[in-house]
């Protein structure tokens, strides 16, 4: 009986640890959304989220976690299509800059400064125009 407890106890501890470690995806999204609205986080042409200035650890962790998950999705698609992860990420970046940045939110192209989206469309990198939309 004691043995069983000795085996189960660490397992239970690990389960609790794993639950704590995995921040809920919905919470990450909410943190990033509000940071975007506050002009602290924005989309980049390279297909990832970027941070402007210094932000809280919570925001940084949420951005890192989302970027890691994005990279996993890019990697999977790149493997299927026989292209580099960077290719997939960049083409996805064209899409996010084209249609998923709201007026007032920030974005960045290349190593340039962060810009704030105005009423008009974002002036995209040349390569984005290749397929029209």
């Amino acid at each position: 009986m004691t043995r069983i407890i000795r085996i189960i106890a660490p397992l239970a501890g690990f389960a609790a640890f794993a639950t704590l470690g995995a921040a809920p995806a919905a919470a990450q999204d909410a943190v990033v959304s509000s940071a975007k609205a506050a002009g602290q986080v924005g989309e980049q042409a390279d297909g990832y989220l970027g941070i402007r200035g210094s932000v809280s650890a919570e925001i940084r962790q949420a951005v890192d976690a989302l970027n890691i998950r994005r990279r996993a999705a890019y990697t999977e698609l790149a493997g299927k299509r026989g292209v580099t992860v960077q290719d997939v990420a960049a083409v996805t970046g064209c899409q996010t800059l084209r249609g998923r940045v709201s007026q007032g939110q920030i974005y960045r192209i290349g190593t340039g400064d962060w810009q704030t989206k105005g009423a008009g469309a974002i002036s995209l990198p040349d390569y984005c125009a290749a397929a029209g939309n």
């Binding site: 690990f14 994005r70 390569y127």
Partner: protein, 70 residues
Amino acid sequence: MRQWTSFGWWLGWRASALPLAIAASGCIQVRAPEKPIEINLNVKIQQEVVVRLQQDAKDLIDNNPELFPQ
């Protein structure tokens, strides 16, 4: 006999602890990566590749909206 029993227990304990330790270290890495992602902001990409991946990229966003919160 008693020695062997306790050795067996020790062995079993080690065998079960090892995968847990590996799994636990994996968790820590995901949560607080030392080097999150090396992002090359200077994108160089061939237009032909853009054309080929355009629809895939749209689908990727549509199918994973939680990765692209607005």
